[in-house]
């Protein structure tokens, strides 16, 4: 049964179609359609209760690659993991990667994902040059910022609602090795974060911080700031880290009681204290950018009940106060959250009508599902985000209110006119009751 990564909500689908052939027409089933890639988005953007899912993982071929320009054409079901294994040894890198490499390219487009290098590179959609979009009318459209620009803008970050993305053309960036030069710095409280963020953000393309969200008082907002850049060619004899295939997996669902105030507090404290500081070192791209991918099926930590992700962005002018208020509220809750991810979005505009990345500061957390108690906490966080004029990330949402969505994405009505009438999702119906 296809689910989303946080395993909430659980819904039933009437029909599943393995989608392997990019030239095939859409099925005529009378059901609403939605692409489902690798199930790594959270909440209900990738679910379509009562409808049909087009499972796109089998549509994962490379179509063309120009070694001169780095322009790649591929099918939408290929994983970023596959692409990186292929392109890194040849000196190419994806322009933007999120915190996991186990998402499909189609999902990266449909959620207009962002990464640690947002200040330097903007969102994923900025590097997409062209798309093939299969519409329920039977049309196979070639869309780009130049051709059918409106539909292109709706499809980037369009949550898969404008049709089936079959082909993606994107521009890769050249790198001289698969290593990154990294630096990490511990900070004792939130004010120090802003100072470091300002200073290092200007020099390092990839930056983010992990914040201990249990610490309070003087220590509120303490954490570890990590920065990275692609390493220059290394002299011969440099100990080179390799792509590691060995990763640990959680073999079964953990009891959800394992997430409690003690385990969360201990984890946060241990992470803060054992963080490597200060120091520069060489790390493989895989290790630096995807630390969580080292533990496969980590969502099982949260047990059968799943978890609620919370991923918000606050505009710069209210960010300092807003982040402080959010962290205070979270620190006062139990069991709280494992590490929060905190980073700055730059000013490069996102190309999608529903794109989440926008200038400001973004905070991402995961809360174990404890029913109404968790929902009350999230509602409090909503109030803080709303008051600051912020928005929540649809690709990581299972419960935002319609008002919150419409405020965060004021162009939703324009988007709605470009949705393919045969496509829908549980999320989209929730936002259009």
């Amino acid at each position: 049964m296809p689910t989303s990564w946080n395993r909430l909500p659980r819904v039933g689908h009437t029909r599943l179609d393995e989608w392997r052939d990019r030239t095939a027409p859409l099925p005529d089933t009378g059901l609403t359609l939605l692409a489902w890639g690798n199930g790594r988005s959270h909440g209900d953007v990738c679910l379509n209760d009562g409808g049909a899912l087009l499972l796109t993982r089998g549509m994962d071929r490379l179509i063309a690659f120009d070694r001169g320009t780095g322009i790649l054409d591929c099918e939408s079901g290929i994983l970023l993991d596959d692409l990186l294994r292929w392109c890194l040894p040849q000196g190419w890198m994806l322009p933007v990667v999120p915190g996991t490499r186990f998402i499909t390219v189609g999902g990266a487009v449909a959620n207009d994902v962002h990464g640690r290098n947002h200040r330097a590179a903007g969102s994923f959609g900025r590097h997409v040059l062209e798309l093939d979009l299969l519409r329920s009318t039977g049309e196979r459209l070639r869309i780009s910022p130049q051709e059918q620009a409106d539909l292109f803008a709706a499809t980037i970050g369009g949550l898969g609602l404008t049709g089936l993305i079959t082909r993606v053309r994107l521009r890769m960036i050249p790198v001289s090795s698969d290593l990154m030069l990294t630096e990490s710095i511990r900070f004792g409280q939130l004010d120090a974060f802003w100072e470091i963020n300002e200073r290092l953000g200007a020099e390092w393309p990839y930056t983010m911080a992990r914040v201990d969200c249990v610490a309070r008082g003087r220590r509120l907002g303490r954490g570890v700031f990590v920065a990275g850049r692609h390493a220059p060619p290394q002299p011969a004899g440099t100990p080179v880290s390799r792509w590691r295939d060995r990763s640990r997996a959680l073999p079964f669902d953990m009891p959800s009681s394992l997430i409690n105030r003690y385990s969360v507090r201990a984890f946060n404290a241990v992470y803060y204290r054992t963080a490597p500081f200060p120091g520069r070192r060489l790390q493989h791209v895989q290790r630096h950018l995807f630390p969580l991918d080292g533990l496969r099926d980590w969502n099982r930590i949260y047990g059968r009940r799943g978890f609620y992700p919370y991923h918000c962005v606050l505009p710069h002018e209210y960010a300092r106060d807003g982040i402080r208020t959010l962290l205070k509220r979270i620190a006062a809750s139990t069991p709280g959250s494992f590490l929060a991810a905190l980073k700055t979005f730059g000013d490069l505009p996102s190309p999608g009508i529903l794109s989440f990345p926008r200038p400001g500061v973004t905070l991402a957390l995961d809360f174990a599902n404890r029913g109404p108690r968790t929902l009350r906490l999230l509602a409090d966080l909503d109030d803080i985000v709303s008051a600051a004029g912020g928005a929540l990330y649809p690709g990581k949402d299972a419960r935002m209110s319609v008002t919150m969505f419409r405020r965060g994405f004021p162009q939703w009505e324009r988007f709605a006119t470009l949705v393919d009438p045969a496509f829908s999702s549980t999320f989209w119906r929730r936002m259009n009751p």
Partner: protein
């Protein structure tokens, strides 16, 4: 004699499992000849394999209707003429029939037996003689756990795969000592387009990438009969042990 194959022909190459296997072989420098029915899909596959190998790969394609049994000896001859150094084959073609339609008409039933058993057996007859004469080669054939015991839900498919398994058993026995390896590959439930209409919940389902890794390993180790993944071996052992008077009452 025990060297890994250097050039492998894959029949039914556009299937999900075969495609994944082809990518793994290619990544370690094995030359490939992919055979399939649909020229457009074959070209999509060879484009993909070519780009993945960074232009260094040797991938050729050949179009053929593998259900046309009379044409199979000619197909093998033209393959070996073009590629005299072929020393491995993977037979991955087949279909999962609609059991209800197989029960309704003999024609449908026979057609499925033809696609899932007779085609492979015809091809193997030619390949076996050729490899035997050259005292080398690895032959891998994708069967199914469904061939280990007949069940009401898919016994036509099961009968075809079971016939294929016994054929391979005999062939392996005959070719023992000739330098030719015969591998029976028995995947369990795999998430591919072939199984999309089944209810695919539960622990027994695996991803095609995993099955592909198992196939490559089986070729490396020149195994005889391989269950993919491994846990199907004890599962099927237990299923075969159930006495028929009990088994016939079960709804499996």
């Amino acid at each position: 004699m025990s060297a890994a194959p250097r050039r492998i022909a894959i029949f039914g190459a556009t299937s999900r499992i075969a495609t994944e296997t082809a990518r793994l072989w290619l990544a370690r420098g094995v030359a490939l000849v992919v055979v399939g029915r649909n020229p457009e899909r074959l070209r999509m596959l060879t484009d993909d394999l070519g780009i993945r190998a960074g232009g260094l790969a040797e991938v050729d394609a050949m179009t053929a209707d593998l259900a046309d049994l009379d044409a199979l000896p000619g197909l093998w001859n033209s393959l070996t003429e073009r590629f005299p150094d072929l020393d491995g084959v993977l037979l991955a073609h087949g279909s999962l029939p609609d059991q209800a339609r197989c029960e309704a008409t003999p024609e449908t039933m026979l057609q499925e037996i033809r696609v899932n058993a007779l085609s492979a057996m015809s091809l193997l007859t030619v390949i076996a003689n050729d490899f035997e004469a050259r005292h080398r080669g690895v032959i891998g054939v994708i069967g199914s756990v469904a061939g280990d015991r007949g069940r009401r839900s898919n016994y036509v498919y099961g009968a075809a795969k079971g016939m294929l398994a016994i054929f391979l058993q005999g062939l392996r026995n005959r070719l023992h000592g000739s330098g030719v390896t015969v591998i029976t590959l028995k995947p369990g439930f795999v998430m591919t387009p072939m199984t999309q209409d089944l209810d695919r919940d539960g622990l027994l389902w695996s991803r095609p990438e995993r099955v592909a890794r198992g196939i490559v390993r089986a070729f490396d180790r020149r195994r005889d009969v391989v269950y993919l993944p491994w846990f199907w071996r004890p599962v099927l052992w237990a299923i075969r042990l159930i006495p028929e008077p009990v088994f016939k009452r079960l709804s499996l």
